[in-house]
């Protein structure tokens, strides 16, 4: 029974991983901006599925609400508003060098990731203890408590940043 569940979780993980990466490649490769925006939505949903697999349910919800609900719609609006000057989405002349360099750095990063001895579950915390901690405590309540106690300064600064972003974008698009 235990093996069946982990096998199903593995299959789900690989389906989500492959679809996320394929749609991310489609965002970059497609010529039509509208279609690449739609594939960006698929990538965001895939990342939300990854968050669910990582037991970050609240973040998965925030990802769907904010990225799929707000940012993707904003991007689609921008694509539609720039329709009359639409010239597709071509590559510039640095395609080959950037492809080679980023591929090399990616290979290096993957080499480092696979060869590092990750100290998973250090400090004598077993995976059973971790699962118990997840099941028995309210994750959402803990996030709220951390946000208004330990990280309250960052929380306030971020709200000021959001306000200035709203005012700045309104000031930018204002007709004068």
């Amino acid at each position: 029974m235990e093996n069946d569940t982990s096998l199903i979780i593995d299959i789900v993980f690989w389906i989500i991983a492959v679809s996320t990466i394929v749609s991310a490649i489609a965002v970059v490769a497609l010529k039509d901006v509208f279609r690449s925006a739609l594939f960006l939505v698929v990538t965001f949903i895939g990342i939300a599925g990854m968050f669910l697999l990582l037991r970050a349910e609240f973040l998965a919800m925030v990802q769907i609400l904010l990225y799929v609900g707000a940012i993707a719609v904003l991007i689609l609006f921008a694509v539609v508003l720039t329709r009359d000057v639409e010239q597709g989405s071509p590559f510039n002349r640095y395609l080959i060098p950037v492809l080679v360099i980023s591929g090399l750095i990616l290979a290096g990063v993957i080499f480092v990731i696979t060869n590092t001895n990750w100290n998973v579950n250090s400090n004598n915390i077993t995976s059973e203890q971790m699962t118990a901690a997840f099941v028995e405590t309210s994750i959402l309540g803990n996030i709220a408590e951390l946000l208004i106690k330990k990280y309250v300064l960052a929380f306030e600064v971020v709200s000021v940043v959001l306000l200035s972003a709203v005012i700045g974008s309104l000031a930018l698009v204002r007709k004068r």
């Binding site: 996320t20 990582l54 901690a133």
Partner: protein
């Protein structure tokens, strides 16, 4: 399903976004690729804090607090990404209004 798989997927997404933001001409697609990079960083942060617990004093509540560090990071990154995309798309609209083009390569007044 372990830490390395999530980190590798995060790395692949990040470098797809990096490649796209360096090679695409359309400003909106560059912004989309920056969003891809933000997402990759979020995934990496959450996976790290899920599998690598930084510290613990033994009771369950502090385990959860240290696991949630990465999620709090991701919440702040998502907020900043929302602010960034609002400003970025406003700049795109202004570019289209002034230059009648969405290509970054057409904005080169500082070059001459």
């Amino acid at each position: 399903m372990d830490l390395q798989q999530f980190l590798i997927i995060g790395a692949i997404l990040f470098f797809i976004g990096l490649f796209g933001s360096f090679t695409k001409k359309n400003t909106i697609v560059v912004l989309m690729c920056i969003e891809l990079m933000f997402n990759a960083v979020n995934l990496t942060a959450v996976a790290m804090s899920r599998y690598l617990v930084p510290y613990s004093t033994g009771n369950d509540s502090s385990i959860v607090d240290s696991i949630l560090t990465g999620q709090i990071f991701s919440i702040f990154i998502i907020t900043i990404a929302a602010a960034e995309i609002a400003i970025g798309l406003a700049i795109v609209i202004v570019l289209v209004r002034n230059y009648k083009s969405v290509f970054i390569s057409d904005v080169k007044e500082l070059k001459h």
